[in-house]
């Protein structure tokens, strides 16, 4: 009598092992694309930080290292519960598996709640560009008191015959006035803050997707979907969760810890 095909085996795979390997490779490949996605943001951040170190440091000083630190602990703990969930799946401990998946989702949600509180505090403190930004809090100092001239020529430097005037001995500085220096410094602080909100915001979007994934896995686990012979969705979900965690590990120092004085 021919063996009944495993209900977990998709029709286009030869065996569960192949299916497991395909799913795992698929997730690793997907995480590579996510790395490139965040990589564009990290690249932009790096370039602007190298150009405007003082403004970035001043802005970073206004972020709360305490909140960032607590969030980091929360997320790292969620990675622990995720790893424990994978172990529980491997050993067939169903109740532990469901508990760990729910704990992971819960800790992720706690991270989001703390982040939402942090965004609220940022708004109250006037750290949100366009919506509520207190430019007067940020005064340039040191090397950025005289900001770099803007790329290209100011219109005044073109002569009537259309030729370009030779630049003066020192490059003409469009922001020579103290108030203009402060204005451009404030704009650079806003630039940092934009990167802060976009990077943590996109990270949060990925976290929300991860939490949804955990809840779905927990629901299926509760119904006995997974067993030591078939648990790779947990493993694959774990890979995604750990990646979201690792992204935060890079975000924390770059956004919170560059000020040097808190």
């Amino acid at each position: 009598m021919p063996a009944k095909p495993d209900p977990n085996l998709a029709h286009h795979f030869e065996d569960l092992g192949q299916q497991h390997e395909a799913a795992t490779l698929g997730m690793w490949v997907f995480l590579a694309t996510e790395l490139m996605f965040f990589g564009g943001l990290f690249t932009g951040y790096t370039i602007y930080r190298s150009q405007y170190p003082a403004a970035f440091a001043a802005a970073s000083n206004h972020l709360s290292v305490w909140i960032g630190g607590i969030n980091t602990i929360v997320l790292l703990t969620s990675s622990l519960t995720m790893a424990l969930a994978v172990h529980a799946a491997q050993t067939g401990a169903r109740r532990t598996l469901v508990a760990m998946l729910l704990a992971t989702a819960g800790l992720g949600s706690l991270f989001l709640a703390i982040k939402a509180y942090e965004y609220y505090v940022d708004y109250e403190e006037g750290l949100v560009p366009v919506l509520h930004f207190k430019a007067e809090e940020f005064q340039p100092s040191g090397s950025e008191a005289r900001p770099l001239p803007v790329r290209g020529l100011a219109p005044e430097e073109l002569r009537e015959d259309g030729n370009v005037a030779q630049p003066a001995a020192a490059p003409r500085d469009r922001y020579a006035m103290p108030t203009e220096a402060a204005a451009s410094f404030a704009r650079r602080v806003e630039l940092f803050l934009m990167f802060y909100y976009i990077m943590t915001g996109i990270h949060a979007v990925h976290l929300i997707i991860g939490i949804a994934l955990m809840l779905i896995l927990a629901h299926k686990a509760q119904r006995g979907r997974y067993a030591p012979e078939f648990y790779y969705p947990i493993e694959v979900g774990g890979l995604y969760w750990h990646f979201v965690d690792v992204i935060w590990i890079f975000l924390l120092p770059l956004l919170y810890l560059i000020g040097g004085s808190h």
Partner: protein, 542 residues
């Protein structure tokens, strides 16, 4: 669409007649049906992009702005570029022929993730809808390159168009992901890496580029959108941003993107050249590794689009040297195809004409790329029609030719019908000569100084522009004819049988159209591909 049944036998079950109705198509998980869905969508987008090109060429018949005004003209070339690049060229060969043929070439029943495959088509359609919305609402005038700060400030509908491109990028990523995993994990027994057909090697290299490059343009476009909505300067110099940073991020994807467009085309040409000269591809390993080399080197040359952007001359020199380097693997392929043709038993069926057209036109386009890689020359011809001619030689003379060749080659496999060769060959010649008349004058007029993206020009350029438009009209006829006869062949085409080309490819060792699971029994592969001319293959073995 199935071959007429013989001697009263019921028609065999194939992927087309296994189920009927709109739901069976829109909810299909069969890679072959998804390939057909993409074929229809991509053809519609190609027609749309072609309509924009037609209006552009009509406007350029005369030096003055008489057909459309300057703002409309800007919108026309922008939409032509966006649609042709993102909605035609990038997905064309991978999503249609790749989806259809790749699992079969691997001896697999489907791609690794059939549901992601279907999702990728829906994502493509949603992205297309956003872009069409932008078009209908009034268009975009930034150029397909979305350069900042204008793309941040333009009062046209940049946001929906950018969203459309952002969304469609994920369609591309899912396709690439599927191809990589399928190639790694679902090869038939005995199908080692160096027994893979070269179309697989090309698709694999293409997928690597898709996966590593597309996310970067996704985030870049997202940042432009955020800047438009929020009004804070990420790329706007008035607000402290750097517009050249946008160019770096944009071209970091968009240069590899051109290799996404050309590598699958090269893969198709490798297949066609071997079948239609009944010969093993000369230097198989060189061609396979050249595909990978193009993928890797292609990521290192983006700055050659930015020689005049105020990037340093030192950076320009490095990008220039690397751009010369990236031409080498392409040249290796051209030499190997030529050596394959040498002393082959060549049959001049339509797919072969398209392959030969590719080799000639791609070589010409590629050589002009070397002129552009040289800093001194590029400085003079950048933003002129020389550039326009260069990339159209590769994308139209190259990729679209190979696309047509592949479509003709695999049409009998996909539909079970032959297209009418008596119409196809003249159409191929119309396309070839129409193409040359359209774009060769553009090299000249660009070298003489005619700028690109201008709706008017000095009268000295008119003769060459008239030649170009005349060529475009011939080219258009050349494209319409296959549209008609392919459709005709679905009902009246000669039944093709499993292997009308007597190819040794694995996809041909199964009926046409293929059964839903591709192979009744998973094939076992014992030989290298393209073993033409060796001892006759025993029926049933690859």
């Amino acid at each position: 669409m199935t071959p007429p049944s013989l001697q009263g036998e019921p028609a065999p079950v194939n992927y087309l007649n296994v189920a009927f109705g709109v739901r069976s198509w829109l909810l299909t998980l069969d890679h072959k049906r998804i390939g057909i869905l993409y074929l229809v969508s991509i053809t519609l987008m190609f027609i749309l992009g072609g309509i924009f090109a037609t209006i552009i060429r009509l406007e350029l018949l005369t030096p003055g702005p008489d057909l459309v005004d300057r703002d409309t003209y800007n919108k026309l070339f922008t939409m032509h570029g966006i649609i042709m690049v993102f909605f035609f060229l990038i997905p064309a060969i991978p999503a249609t022929m790749g989806n259809f043929v790749l699992p079969m070439m691997l001896g697999a029943k489907d791609l690794a993730f059939p549901r992601l495959n279907l999702l990728s088509w829906y994502i493509y359609m949603i992205g297309a809808l956003f872009t069409l919305w932008a078009m209908v609402a009034g268009g975009v005038d930034t150029g397909w390159t979305f350069y900042t700060p204008y793309s941040v400030k333009s009062q046209t509908f940049v946001l929906p168009a950018a969203l459309g491109v952002f969304i469609t990028g994920f369609s591309s990523i899912l396709t690439g992901l599927n191809f990589i995993v399928t190639t790694h994990r679902m090869r038939a027994p005995g199908l080692t890496w160096f027994r893979l057909p070269l179309f697989i090697w090309s698709s694999y290299a293409t997928s690597i580029i898709i996966l590593l490059g597309t996310p970067v343009i996704a985030i870049t476009i997202l940042l432009v959108g955020i800047e438009r909505v929020v009004g804070v300067g990420i790329f706007d110099p008035d607000l402290g941003g750097d517009p050249v940073l946008f160019q770096h991020l944009f071209w970091f994807y968009s240069h590899p993107a051109v290799y996404i467009m050309v590598l699958p085309a090269m893969g198709v040409v490798s297949e066609l050249v071997s079948v239609f000269s009944r010969k093993n591809v000369f230097g198989y390993h060189f061609v396979a590794f050249a595909s990978l080399a193009i993928a890797v080197l292609g990521f290192l040359v983006w700055g050659h689009h930015m020689f005049v952007s105020s990037q340093s001359v030192f950076a320009g020199m490095i990008f220039s040297a690397l751009s010369f380097l990236v031409a080498i693997p392409s040249a290796v392929k051209v030499f190997n195809w030529t050596a394959t043709l040498w002393r082959g038993s060549i049959s001049y069926d339509t797919p072969m004409w398209f392959a030969l057209g590719f080799i000639g036109l791609f070589t010409m386009g590629g050589l002009t790329g070397l002129f552009l890689a040289a800093l001194g020359t590029d400085l003079h011809v950048t933003d002129t029609y020389f550039i326009v001619a260069h990339f159209h030689f590769i994308m139209v003379g190259g990729t679209v030719m190979a696309y047509m060749g592949g479509l003709h080659y695999w049409w009998p496999k996909m539909t079970g019908r032959m297209y009418p060769e008596v119409w196809a060959r003249p159409a191929a010649f119309l396309i070839f000569f129409g193409f040359i008349l359209t774009f060769l004058p553009q090299f000249v007029v660009g070298y003489l100084g005619m700028p690109r993206r201008y709706h008017q020009y000095v009268p000295e350029y008119q003769v060459l522009n008239v030649m170009s438009t005349a060529g475009a009209s011939i080219l258009a006829v050349g494209y319409v004819i296959p549209l008609v006869y392919f459709f005709w062949s679905l009902y009246y085409g000669r039944p093709a049988g499993p292997n009308p080309w007597r190819s040794y490819g694995l996809e041909w060792q199964t009926p046409s159209p293929p059964p839903p699971d591709n192979f009744p029994v998973t094939p076992v592969v014992t030989r290298a591909p393209y073993h033409y001319g060796e001892e006759v293959a025993v029926a049933g073995q690859a």
